[in-house]
Symmetry: C2
Subunit: 331 residues, 2 copies
């Protein structure tokens, strides 16, 4: 369930554009107005506002945002063609982009700066629908003049490349049909490879990379029933192994994305400092999808509310924007 709240009566895209323009060009920027509008429009409405704004003022709304809004400049984050952004600017931009553009940009950053501990490509490929992932591949080509898979293949290597290239290229069947015989067979194949500690076995990659979510859930259930452990438990080692972490993330993202996202948010908040990149990514990509479930898992796991944790860890307009997106005042 989404946490985004859209007012019952939504102003026209023209009115919203006018208000935003005023907020940008007046003396100082009016962040309250920006938040009150942008954090309460859905993807289709935001797209209309961007179109109307561009038609009216001859400038991309995102460029105006970048030029005009101030923020906590001590924390700078780079972001593609928009240059260096504060985390407040970045979260507003990520939110204002539509799903495919946003995911294309996140995937590009992840590919360019890829390292074995980076799970963003797994997240984007395994928590989105087949149609959304394909829209992202199209948006990626339009923006970067290359395919997503060629960039991922060129920036990764070894077992990670074997895993990630099929994932970014996947277009899974999303119907409910399950082949039980196949689920049993492939549970056995997975178990055999895992028992041999051959984690990058081509059958593991093939099964995780091509089967439908419904089929994989059946396979993992059978794995648990037949071999006595959830597959992710068998993929856990005492020693830190980033390839195993990736495999577990694939499975969590496919089977229980809200638990995967809860962990990302928790890690982003826990400890000294905040990983605003991860926090902004999860909030902006899930606010219209399943952030309600993520909040519930978070509250259960951490015995505190996610909005309280975010409020404690962030500040200023950045905090205000995140809290609006996660439906803070509702609780």
């Amino acid at each position: 369930m989404a946490t985004l709240r859209v007012p019952q009566v939504v102003p026209s895209p023209i009115e919203d554009s006018q208000q935003l323009r005023k907020a940008f060009v007046g003396l100082g920027t009016n962040e309250k107005t920006i938040i009150s509008i942008l954090a309460h429009r859905n993807a289709a409405q935001l797209r209309q506002i961007r179109e109307t704004y561009h038609e009216t003022y001859g400038e991309d709304l995102l460029v105006s945002l970048k030029k005009e809004i101030s923020g906590d400049f001590e924390r700078l984050r780079s972001m593609d063609r928009y240059g260096v952004l504060t985390c407040w600017q970045r979260v507003v931009m990520l939110w204002t982009l539509d799903q495919a553009e946003r995911d294309a940009m996140l995937a590009n950053e992840a590919a360019q700066k890829w390292h074995p501990g980076n799970l963003v490509l797994v997240e984007i490929t395994c928590t989105r629908s087949a149609a959304e992932l394909f829209a992202t591949r199209k948006a990626y080509q339009a923006r970067y003049k290359r395919s997503l898979e060629e960039d991922v293949a060129a920036h990764t290597k070894g077992d990670f490349r074997k895993l990630l290239v099929p994932l970014v290229s996947s277009y899974r069947y999303d119907g409910p049909e399950v082949n039980t015989k196949l689920a049993k067979l492939e549970a056995k194949m997975l178990h055999k490879a895992i028992a041999e500690k051959f984690y990058s076995h081509e059958e593991i990659i093939r099964i995780l990379g091509t089967r439908s979510k419904a089929q994989l859930i059946a396979t993992f259930n059978h794995y648990n029933d037949e071999f006595g452990n959830p597959i992710n438990k068998d993929l856990k080692h005492e020693a830190k192994d980033e390839f195993l972490s990736s495999l577990r993330a694939v499975i969590r993202c496919l089977v229980c994305p809200e638990r995967y996202f809860e962990k990302v948010v928790r890690s982003a908040i826990e400890g000294l400092g905040t990983d605003e990149g991860a926090l902004s990514r999860v909030i902006t990509t899930r606010a219209e999808v399943d952030l309600q479930e993520i909040k519930e898992v978070y509250a259960k796991r951490n015995s505190k509310a996610l909005d309280a944790a975010i409020a404690k860890d962030t500040s200023g307009d950045y905090e205000a924007f995140l809290l609006e997106l996660i439906g803070h005042n509702e609780n």
Copy 2:
């Protein structure tokens, strides 16, 4: 260039449907009518006829075709849910299906009956545009309730699987941009792997599977300039090696599809008997694309016209239909 000829004044889909219905249900089937209509309509027109026929008679045109038309029953070919078909029925059906449905069906047959010498998956993945291949993946799921890549992955193995799964999953960038530095670098990588006879090297698969056609052409040109041989010459061995044949087919399909198709047609006609499967596939999939170029390459390579060769090797309505599609009377 296409060889398909559409009359200047095209009857309405309603008129075409009525004529076809009459040809099916009259005493005996009137193949002349079927040929005169279906072999002279383009994909968009055929789609309209199928829709109109279905609305009017409550039956899929392809099912009527299967039920009613006679043919040279001595040569039976299986074809999916339409059951066992003669090569005449099969060529009419292949032609009447739209590109995505046709390719999905051909890819399914190729995956189910896959063997190392079967190049149909290479052909479909490397001669179609990125958008066409994606349309095929969608049509495949709609028809078979599974993804193309999961079927290909499940029915292939070893080096062939490593090559074919990325190919069927690919969505290549199709812009004209070329990165010359990258072309030089990757030409070297290809040459090194080929010199070591490590033909299934992951860099070969990565480069062939993900780069855009424009980029690959630059890479192969550089390979030729720098290392003195066209890459396909270096991929040739005296001993027959089906993986090498597949690699060469990938390159030919990407770079010079008309030469690839000429060879398929030549092999289908040469020797005793005819490979109607291959012949029908090439004629129906290329008649609206580049069959003119294929005919020209064929004439040059074999010192005879393709239509004469087909006329010699085939007979009856099957022959007549193929000759109409390749624009026989024009020559």
